[in-house]
């Protein structure tokens, strides 16, 4: 008991084991405190977050390195700082004005392509540092920028003018196809039933897919992941040969079936005889794709 008291209260005669014990305790306390502060990336830290982090680190560093210094004040002081910070974050969630007061608010430095000198002064941003931030975001000419905003974290967010923005699939009217949640379905030979339920697939379906890839024993599987396109990728413990991949055949069939039905509906819904004939033809084609694929995959789908 006396020994533990000495660890917490400080004692010049504390040995190395006591410092190891302090280090262990500090690690646990810091982990708890960091979790209480919420998960954020280092780049997302505001100036206040940064100062709080440094303060906590300094307090613990002093208490850890010096056996004479009491350890418990460090725990109380850092817990208080984190408590106040959590309270401020909580109040900020309840009240937007309070959040802006506590964490600062974004400042628009360039608006509609024009530099806002007053905002630059308010954010204490020089033209050189603004240009540096713009260059980091691949905007080398001021003329290319529509908006630039100084965020509370100190970073600058840039929106380029429309003509300088990269072309997207939407601009090109290119479809994105169906999108699935990329879930792991098997890890180290164990089926992840929760994930399987979440994506709406059954264990029988999974076994069927694995069987079609020649995997008969789940113990052979290191990981199996459903990709965003609905394909199943399987990595077995056998490292020779390519990674196994299978498409979800029943999903492919349901797409073909749906297309056939949709085109039939479009044919019914149009007054244009040419379009009607085209939709009817496409409905038949999609139906044909469905029946052909269903025929060759008859033994591979549920």
């Amino acid at each position: 008991m006396n020994y533990l008291e000495a660890v917490f209260n400080g004692n010049p005669n504390l040995g190395p084991f006591a410092l190891v014990l302090r280090g262990l305790l500090a690690y646990i306390v810091l982990n708890v405190l960091v979790r209480l502060m919420g998960q954020r990336e280092v780049q997302q830290l505001t100036a206040v977050d940064f100062v709080v982090g440094i303060t906590i680190g300094s307090i613990f560093a002093a208490a850890l390195a010096d056996p004479k210094t009491a350890f418990w004040p460090a725990i109380i002081a850092t817990s208080t700082i984190v408590g106040v910070k959590s309270l401020v974050a909580f109040l900020g969630l309840k009240n937007q004005r309070f959040a802006r007061l506590a964490s600062g608010e974004p400042i628009t430095l360039i608006k509609d392509g024009k530099v806002q000198e007053a905002a630059m002064r308010k954010g204490r941003v020089t033209m050189d540092s603004l240009m540096e931030q713009l260059r980091k975001r691949k905007a080398f000419n001021l003329a290319d920028v529509e908006f630039a905003v100084l965020e509370p974290s100190g970073s600058v967010t840039v929106m380029k003018k429309r003509e300088h923005q990269p072309v997207t699939k939407k601009d090109l009217h290119v479809g994105l196809g169906c999108s699935w949640y990329p879930a792991f379905l098997v890890k180290e030979g164990q089926i992840l039933h929760d994930n399987l339920r979440e994506v709406g697939l059954s264990e029988a379906w999974l076994q069927n897919q694995l069987g079609s890839m020649g995997v008969t024993d789940l113990d052979e599987v290191f990981v199996a992941q459903l990709s965003t396109t609905g394909s199943l990728y399987v990595d077995t413990y056998e490292d020779e040969g390519p990674m196994k991949k299978s498409i979800a055949k029943d999903l492919v069939l349901s797409k073909a079936q749906k297309l056939s039905g949709d085109f039939a509906l479009y044919a019914e819904g149009t007054y244009d005889p040419e379009a009607k004939a085209m939709y009817e033809r496409m409905s038949r084609q999609a139906r044909h794709v469905y029946t052909s694929l269903a025929h060759i995959w008859a033994d591979k789908v549920d």
Binding site: H173, G177, K255, D262, Y271, M282, A286
Partner: protein
């Protein structure tokens, strides 16, 4: 849902289907299944180009569709 939105949705499904069939051809598919998949892929691509063309036509006549003069 507008006509164009419906057609684009069908176009997306066709694109997904095309990607699936291309993947299936890449994977070790039984040789006897390949002609069927290739022929299905060709049909899907035909439907895709025909539907893209139709979307272009509908877009050109969009004001008339909006007024309900065409369906």
């Amino acid at each position: 849902m507008t006509v164009i939105k419906k057609l684009r949705k069908a176009l997306n499904t066709l694109e997904g289907l095309e990607a699936d069939l291309v993947s299936e051809l890449d994977i070790a598919t039984a040789e006897q299944d390949k002609p069927t998949i290739e022929s299905s892929l060709k049909q899907v691509r035909d439907m895709y180009s025909e539907l893209s063309r139709r979307i272009g036509e509908v877009e050109a006549a969009e004001p008339q569709y909006e007024r309900g003069q065409l369906r």
